[in-house]
Assembly symmetry: C2
Homo-oligomer: 207 residues x 2
Amino acid sequence: MDSLYSKHLENAVNEISKLPGIGKRSALRLALHLVKQDEASVSLLTDRINKLKSSLMYCRVCHNISDTEVCDICSNPKRNGRLICVVQDIRDVIAIENTGQYNGLYHVLGGVISPVEGIGIQQLTIRQLFDRVEAGNIDEVILALPATVEGDTTNFFIYKNIKDKVPSVTTIARGIGVGEELEYADEITLGRSILSRTNFDNSLKTR
Amino acid sequence: MDSLYSKHLENAVNEISKLPGIGKRSALRLALHLVKQDEASVSLLTDRINKLKSSLMYCRVCHNISDTEVCDICSNPKRNGRLICVVQDIRDVIAIENTGQYNGLYHVLGGVISPVEGIGIQQLTIRQLFDRVEAGNIDEVILALPATVEGDTTNFFIYKNIKDKVPSVTTIARGIGVGEELEYADEITLGRSILSRTNFDNSLKTR
């Protein structure tokens, strides 16, 4: 990027453009927007971001972001504590909660194993998942990680370590999305959906 | 947006999603990214944004963002001080400087007149432009505002007020872009480019 005629502007643009998906040009647009706002709204934004970093806590049980030591889901007596759904982050918890189809607990890994990005077992809450399984009283662990190489690697690593300690380890169904045309599905998804075909009787139940 | 299980996360997402072009979903993605960064990089980001608001200055002459009382362009003796190019904001200054075709000074309005957005003459540096013209020693004012209704309104308002006080008021040429196909140009642009046709001799000079 060319000179921006001001070190203050350049510094702010540099930091903003480090955010994912924001290039130098968008960063300049955002910086100029902030310059036009009153001081109170700008400091509200920066305070809230700082507080995010300094005050955020994680649920002691499932490691989801939470304001309490044990989150609302884990402490809800109406939920089935014998069921654990393993997800990458809070966005997946929100997505699954929105379906209204799940009543068990979660385990938030904080990512998936990715040697390329330097994310190994230590960076994730995999050991804590093993501890929950070791503690017993679990009927089923559902693996709901992304259908990527990293997701599959993580799935396999978890499966290998817990398969003898829990009655059932399952993974969410991969297949053709509801309302999706077969001709537009990629071959791997279509192939998997044929291999994992279910009884027509079963498919009626989930409608 | 659904509950985010944490007030701190919700507050940060709310403030981030007030930025232009950033919805709740992107704001959550950015917030979760920041949570994963170390404290030093997050506070560097927020410090730089705060400093932007508290320390930014504007050139006393052209009102562009600047770290000095008079900016590098206005204080450069090699530039033609009898030429003023009127633009909306610093991004247009950068774009015109990049062409290498302009050697005069600028006047940064800070926007265009837009009753819908509550932007009137008071919010812009239009009076200061009139003062520069009144002070004399200006040969030409070039209006380089966006080709929108608001841009045209602002152009016309400025033109009406300075036309008797400066030898020449011009506007940048509107037409078919270099390398653009005629069939893909919109009708208004194509129409204007026919009305503003230039001598072929002249067009050769600017190649």
